[in-house]
Amino acid sequence: MLAWTIYISFCAVFVLLLLPNRMVRTARSVALLSAIAAFAVTLAAFWQHRSGELQTITRVPWVASLGLEYHLAADGISLTLLLLTGIVAIAGVLFSWNITHRVSEFFAFYLALIGGVYGVFLSFDLLLLFIFYEIAIIPKYFLIAIWGSTRREYAAMKLALYSFIGSAMVLIGLIAAYVASGARTMDLSQLAQFPFTVHFQMWVFPLVFVGFAILAGMWPFHTWAPTGHVAAPTAASMLLAGVVMKLGAYGCLRVAMALFPRGLDAWGFHLLGFGSWRDVFALMAVIGIVYGALVALVQKDFKFVIGYSSVSHMGFVLLGLMTLQQIGIDGAVLQMFSHGILAGLLFAVVGRMVYDRTHTRELAQLQTMQLSKVLPFAAATFVIASMASIGLPGFSGFVAELQVLIGTWHAYPRFTLLAGLGIVIGIAYTWRVMQVVFFGEPATNQPANVAPLPPITMPERIGTTLLVATSVLIGLYPQLLLRIIVPALHSPLFDGLWKGSQQ
């Protein structure tokens, strides 16, 4: 049944493409309905799926002569991310209610992206996964290049090329694994059982891991993320930060780490203090956390602050993966979910509530506008979102980052301090931007510049409620997701990973 998430999205794309451009309302409704329908399907599956173990949805031969299959399946990790995709997709449609330029095309690209994302999370045949992964690249380009703002064509091209280079690395790794195994299969669980030689894993693992991690915003390959987020229209930023970066992290865990676990083993020698790829990537993740936070601290553009904070938060995901502790990886998956929701919320406030009304994102200009009085709803939302984002207990971010930190404490005690430092800086930049934008003092020499702005609309309120409620729900009762994530991590797929980590 879950397969319908993909089909619904692509059917909606088809309908939207056939729709004449002036039928704006119909286009919006089609988009919203299909997003809701896909989410409903996921939710129903989530209800039925109590244990979190791997469940096959569809499995038919696709290109029999090459051993390729159309194999869709879901386990707890997939389900968690599918839920995230569903929620962010609905919120994204709601927050793009004010788009009037080439509406049906906008939603067509938007839903094509969503459909690709659903496909990645559901594929268990590697080539199929890769196909859906690449399907997601092209719509991003057009969403940003057509409907974006600041330096949109540059940002769109940069993002598309970074993604494509990443996926080219992945493709090389996948073909190499396909040929080296000699088994003529691209089935994820079968290849995960195949004992690739350590030498082979040692070069393929970093190739595939970095290929995916580019999309997860790993330092120093993160530079597409802030520019892309800033240039993108609100809904696309929400998707980019909320879901697309998760594609990368998901690929790191599901493909790179599951297929080539020995690639994480020690090299047997030390180079510049690193003993394995694991050390290298853990350090990059920590640098990403601290660097992203520091850069966010000095930005002058409101959206860049959020853009760099995404890099910082995604660092936690990668760090969690590199701990190779169960609690760390749990935390990483939970952090994917949590950051997806919160980044979506923050971008919604910045892009839709503030920028679309004030037409500026310059902190200096926003400071004089007294937005807390003009847009109290936006101010309140941003305060809640910031609290959640800096890891206040009771919100989803806290549970996730705490678990990652505990995992790190076991694996890399020294990095825990650095990551903790990243959290502290996170509080600083969040506080600063909140203070400046919403509670700034009007300039003294001018009369108070309180121009009446359009009020917050109903779709925005609904979208906000949806995202905040989800974050609070998971913050208060993380077990809801953990109960399906943990069994998924103990499926045979990840056997190699745990075996490797005990050595």
Binding site: L17, W62, V63, A64, S65, L66, L127, F130, I131, E134, I135, I137, I138, Y141, F142, A145, I146, E153, M157, A160, L161, F164, I165, A168, L171, I172, I175, A176, Y178, V179, A180, G182
Partner: protein, 499 residues
């Protein structure tokens, strides 16, 4: 001495004969019955006649599956060759359809007849394993193509391109003939399998090495591989659109198949090696160098182009580089992979030239600026161009992606499982990431840039939309269910191999 088998020869060549008769019929109809008619009417009737001829030929080929090896490899027919002939005929039909609304020439019937004669020579080209006939067919094809390039008499560019094409073509034909004569001198035979049987021993005869290089120079020209590519940008830019489409599609497929035959069948035993650790002299390393140059130069220079036709020319070199990887891998998988790639590429590029022609006819040029805002002026053609270019870039789920995947995995599986050619595959995949940049630039002009203020919607002829739609649909279909074509090709390749 056995009597010359005229009857058998005739029965094997019925498809070619039908085509020649069609060409004559097209000429005659135009000369005798349509003298006074308007050009559009003449075009339409000529096109219909040509289509009927091609359809008859396809029907005949489909209807009588043949296994024959006549006169010691002079005419070789088997299911695979017949399939390639069918593909070539289909490509010709699409080219002819693109000609429908053209207005660059009054000499309608001559143009169509030349296209049909070029098709005849391509059919000969793929159905022989004899050096002499290969050379004759290749020359006949080239001569037709030179004239087709020069056909726009009102355009200086067209004439210049044709002259350039002719001069380079003549030179490379000389190289090819020299190479062939050396091969003949070496083996005392013009039959490919005989030539191969005289090659043995681990060290290659210097004569043979010279012959290999000469042959690669000659055939490298036909497939527009770097450094034998100098004609391509000018010809792609100057030739009338249907001619350029024909040169880029049908003749490419035929040329690649011939290159494969000459190398893999004729020079079996002289492969050498181009894997990372084990280098050995032979034709594989030579082709590897050509492939690397083609991929790198084609992709990098394409970035700088503003004319879409020139861009397609440089991207054609890049694609030739990818396909050369399929040849130099010469595994059991690589022939179906190569053909799958070549066929889907040919179809795609044909469609892309059709869209370019449409834009030229309505905006007067083919630079990126002329494509600005096309999606709002001709939505269907734009969407089809979207699919063509993304397929060329290798974005799934389109046929171009599967072609790349299959080609590269086939290349890696030899020599199994050491991944010896991985350096080439890495380069190819990296270069295809570069290619996305310039394809996206075209799509950016079409979808993102706003159309000029005075732009009116473009009226696309129905036939063009039909052709674009067919090609786009087949690309999506072949990308999602590659088995349709793959099964067909593999089956034929297996049949041929098992004989």
């Amino acid at each position: 001495m056995t009597p010359f088998p005229y009857a058998e020869l005739f029965s094997l060549l019925v498809p070619q004969i039908i085509l020649v008769l069609t060409a004559l019929a097209v000429l005659a109809a135009d000369a005798f019955f349509l003298r006074a008619a308007d050009t559009p009417v003449r075009i339409k009737s000529g096109v219909v006649l040509s289509l009927i001829g091609c359809t008859l030929t396809i029907a005949r080929t489909l209807h009588t599956p043949l296994q024959a090896n006549l006169l010691d490899g002079m005419i070789v027919l088997n299911p695979l060759v017949q399939q390639i002939q069918i593909v070539l005929l289909l490509l010709t039909m699409l080219t002819v359809l693109l000609f429908v609304s053209s207005s660059f020439t009054q000499h309608v019937s001559e143009y169509l007849a030349l296209i049909l004669l070029a098709t005849v020579s391509m059919m000969f080209l793929v159905s022989t394993q004899n050096l002499l006939l290969i050379f004759l067919a290749l020359e006949m094809l080239s001569l037709s193509l030179y004239i087709l390039t020069a056909f726009n008499k009102s355009s200086g560019q067209s004439a210049e391109a044709a002259l350039k094409y002719f001069l380079f073509g003549g030179t490379s034909a000389a190289f090819l003939l020299f190479g062939f004569s050396l091969l003949y001198g070496f083996s005392n035979s013009t039959n490919l399998t005989h030539i191969a049987s005289t090659i043995h021993g681990s060290s290659l005869d210097p004569l043979l090495i010279v012959a290999i290089v000469m042959v690669i120079v000659g055939l490298g020209f036909k497939v527009a591989a770097v450094p034998f590519h100098f004609w391509a940008p000018d010809v792609y830019q100057g030739a009338p659109a249907p001619s350029a489409a024909f040169i880029a599609s049908g003749s490419k497929v035929a040329a690649f198949y011939v290159l494969y035959q000459v190398m893999v069948i004729g020079l079996a035993g002289a492969e050498g090696g181009a894997t990372w650790h084990t280098y050995a002299p032979g034709w594989v390393p030579v082709l590897a160098i050509v492939a690397v140059l083609s991929m790198v130069l084609g992709n990098l220079v394409a970035i700088r182009q503003t004319s879409v036709r020139r861009l397609l020319a440089y991207s054609a070199m890049a694609h030739a580089g990818y396909m050369l990887i399929g040849i130099l891998a010469h595994s059991e998988q690589s022939l179906p992979a190569l053909l799958y790639y070549a066929i889907t590429y040919a179809v795609t590029v044909l469609g892309a030239f059709g869209v370019v022609a449409l834009v030229e006819a309505n905006t007067g040029g083919d630079t990126l600026a002329h494509f600005a805002g096309l999606s709002r002026r001709a939505p269907i053609a734009s969407f089809c161009m979207f699919i063509f270019l993304l397929s060329l870039a290798g974005i799934p789920p389109l046929a171009g992606f599967f072609g790349k995947f299959y080609l590269f995995s086939a290349a890696l599986s030899t020599p199994a499982p050491t991944l010896g050619l991985i350096w080439l595959v890495v380069l190819a995949v990296a270069m295809s990431a570069v290619s996305l940049f310039y394809y996206l630039r075209v799509l950016k002009a079409i979808y993102v840039t706003d159309p000029p203020a005075d732009a009116a919607p473009i009226r696309t002829p129905f036939v063009h939309n039909l052709v674009f739609g067919l090609i786009a649909a087949s690309l999506v279909l072949l990308g999602c269910t590659p088995n349709l074509l793959l099964h067909w090709l593999r089956h034929a390749v297996d049949l041929v191999a098992s004989r």
